[in-house]
């Protein structure tokens, strides 16, 4: 076994630790999506297929090359130090830091509240979902009084009805019970 191969094997565990696993998974998934899109496009007539074929081929090529980079040329996880003041960092960086700082409990809480709202919406429609969610959220998450939460919910539902249903005459989701 040549010395190069031995040193490559020795370097492998260190390199694997530096591989960005999330980038690896997302890129691999997207590569599969692009390949599937390409396969589907080959079944269409040429005029309908040229453009999707080109786009999916480009996406697949970009994903494949990025996958190679992520796997074989991993970069340091730490961003280089810059003189960027904390408050002037890009929104992308700030969002990244924010979401990275969340705990599992934070995620569960957020998904539970959102999930609860949309389940209520699917069953009882926008007005009931809005009222129940508003009262519960303001009481439990924002630590507001019952009175404040109920008045807020009534105002929100009332203004929504006035603007969307009365003035703009837009239909709103009624849920399984059709309550709009």
């Amino acid at each position: 076994m040549s010395t190069e191969v031995i040193s490559a094997i020795r370097a492998a565990p260190g390199r694997w630790a530096r591989v960005n696993k999330s980038d690896l998974i997302i890129t691999a998934l997207l590569l599969v999506v692009f390949l599937a899109a390409m396969t589907m496009a080959t079944e269409w007539k040429p005029l309908a297929a040229y453009f999707p074929l080109g786009v999916s081929a480009l996406g697949a090529a970009a994903s494949a090359t990025f996958l190679v980079r992520v796997l074989f040329f991993p970069r340091s996880a730490e961003a280089p130090k810059t003189n960027i003041p904390e408050e002037a960092r890009s929104m992308a960086d700030q969002e990244y830091e924010f979401f990275r700082s969340l705990t599992t409990r934070d995620w569960i809480v957020a998904v539970a509240w959102l999930g609860g709202f949309y389940v209520a919406l699917a069953v009882a429609g926008i007005y009931v979902a809005m009222a129940v969610f508003t009262v519960a959220y303001l009481k439990l998450q924002a630590s507001r009084s019952w009175f404040f939460a109920i008045v807020y919910a009534a105002l929100l539902a009332g203004i929504t009805f006035l603007i969307f249903s009365t003035l703009l005459k837009l239909p709103l989701p009624g849920g399984l019970l059709g309550l709009t």
Partner: protein
């Protein structure tokens, strides 16, 4: 041209247009100051409201809101050191220290007046470029427009946070999503999976609302604490002193406005970058560079005028070439298409009066915003202390209604939720969302130009001089980005490197 300028003004000052503009300005103040929703998401939420309206009143609402949003975003930058909008980040550097020194009113006065000058400057740039763009636009056809669209997408992808690979991949995902639906040439369903709702394609509103708004709402929900805290009430006197400061530094205002408008034209750069370029320029040319970062009035003026001037510049490629340079411009481009306007040569010929009315809308909404901002500065300042958690029920309701109202279809709520999840995953793992959004908006236009090019020239269009020129530009862009990424490994030394991930 003069007739069109007059016709544009006449359309912008009809009672309906003015009413919509006023509503837009008020919404813009709220969106800019309150945490939770950004300009792009609010633009998307307002699109369903504009159905059935004439283009000019519709754009009075949309542009009026959007222009003011950036101006109002400076309020939170100055009062709390938290940018209300991404484009208000540079305002924090000197606006907030001025507040801490008891000069919040002066900073707000300087910010409002410099924003007004910047916005008017940007609008005039847009107006001045129309005679230049018209012959250029009339001389090019579908192949060049396709190449220009591709160049715009490359710009955005290359300047995205993360890496150019991620930008290109996300842009390709966006274009693929735009292809979902019935093929316009042969009527073949593409990527619809036998789902009837997908036959009409995936709309821009549910995507924008989910992709950008979802992450913002989640941040508001999970923010630790109960909103910004002010240790002492800000001193809001001295607004006129700030206004006078701005006009005393008129040359700086004009220079930084020119930087804002100029960089606003380039896709991908927009407000996020131009504010820091202008800030750096102001610092380099100042007689008191040591004051920058410690409450320099020149820093406030530079940030204010640049932020406002970029919108006029950003409208140039959006209107003339159909290439949006930012998420907000992508949504605005979607609004053009929904309202029956075709960005491109048509906007500079048959629809020239509509284009010029946009210039007037920017000018008018800025003036209204400055007057309202100066008069209502105290109640508006109080809005900045509203806790984000209180807005969560309102924001979730708006996202849901906005997505649903697009086609009055419950399926769009699921589309919105799917993109909410994609947006949050992208933000969490630092994958850029803007290229996906631009790909979605540009996908349909790109395919149309591609098919027309193919129908006219088969594959020969790839060797047309204009197309070759753009192909070279795309290659150069990718090469320059590779060099930029390689250099980024070194510590940033110049102000120009302050920007970090751009989009």
């Amino acid at each position: 041209m003069l007739d069109a300028i007059g016709a544009g003004l006449a359309q912008a000052v009809t009672p309906m247009s003015l009413l919509m503009l006023l509503i837009g300005v008020v919404i813009g103040f709220f969106v800019g100051i309150l945490p939770g929703l950004g300009g792009a998401v609010t633009l998307a939420l307002l699109i369903p409201v504009t159905y059935g309206m004439d283009p000019v009143p519709a754009f009075s609402l949309l542009l009026g809101m959007y222009v003011v949003c950036a101006i109002a975003g400076d309020f939170t930058s100055i009062l709390f050191g938290i940018p209300g909008e991404p484009t208000s980040a540079a305002m924090v550097l000197d606006g907030y220290p001025m507040n801490k020194k008891g000069q919040a009113g002066r900073a707000l006065g300087a910010s409002l007046s410099s924003s007004a000058v910047g916005a008017i400057f940007g609008a005039l740039v847009l107006m001045a470029l129309i005679p230049v763009m018209r012959p250029l636009m009339l001389g090019i056809s579908a192949p060049e427009l396709f190449a220009a669209g591709l160049l715009g997408l490359t710009f955005i992808a290359a300047l995205s946070a993360g890496s150019i690979h991620k930008g290109v991949i996300m842009a390709a995902v966006g274009v693929l999503i735009a292809l979902v639906g019935i093929d316009p040439n042969l009527g073949i369903p593409r990527y619809t999976f036998d789902n009837l709702h997908l036959w009409e394609g995936i709309g821009i509103v549910p995507v924008v609302v989910g992709l950008l708004g979802g992450a913002e709402v989640l941040q508001t929900m999970l923010e630790k604490g109960s909103g910004p805290k002010q240790t002492a009430p800000p001193h809001l006197g001295g607004i006129m002193v700030g206004v006078k400061d701005s006009f005393r530094n008129w040359w700086l205002m004009l220079r930084t406005s020119a930087i804002g408008a100029g960089l606003g034209i380039l896709p991908g750069l927009g407000g996020s970058v131009s504010q820091f370029v202008a800030y750096g320029h102001a610092k380099q040319t100042s007689k008191h560079p040591e004051e920058f970062g410690n409450g320099s009035i020149e820093g406030v003026i530079a940030a204010g005028s640049t932020t406002a001037a970029k919108d006029g510049g950003a409208l140039v490629p959006t209107i003339a070439f159909g290439i949006p340079g930012s998420a907000s411009m992508a949504v605005l481009l979607g609004a053009f298409l929904i309202l029956g306007l075709n960005p491109g040569p048509e906007m500079l010929t048959e629809q020239l009066d509509v284009t010029l009315s946009l210039v007037w809308i920017i000018v008018l909404s800025t003036l209204v915003a400055v007057v309202l901002g100066a008069l209502l500065i105290r109640p508006l300042a109080k809005l900045t202390s509203v806790s984000g958690k209180l807005l969560v029920p309102f924001l979730i309701a708006m996202l849901t209604i906005g997505a649903f109202s697009y086609k009055n279809a419950g399926e769009d709520i699921w589309v919105m939720l799917a993109f909410l999840a994609i947006g949050v995953v992208a933000a969490r793992f630092k994958w850029p969302r803007i290229p996906l959004l631009l790909g979605l908006v540009l996908g349909e236009l790109l395919e149309r130009y591609f098919m027309v090019s193919y129908a006219l020239f088969e594959w020969d269009w790839l060797s047309r001089p204009g197309v070759v020129l753009v192909e070279v530009a795309i290659g150069a862009m990718i090469l320059l980005t590779a060099i930029r990424v390689a250099r980024k490994k070194r510590p940033a030394r110049k102000v120009g490197q302050l920007t970090g991930g751009l989009v």
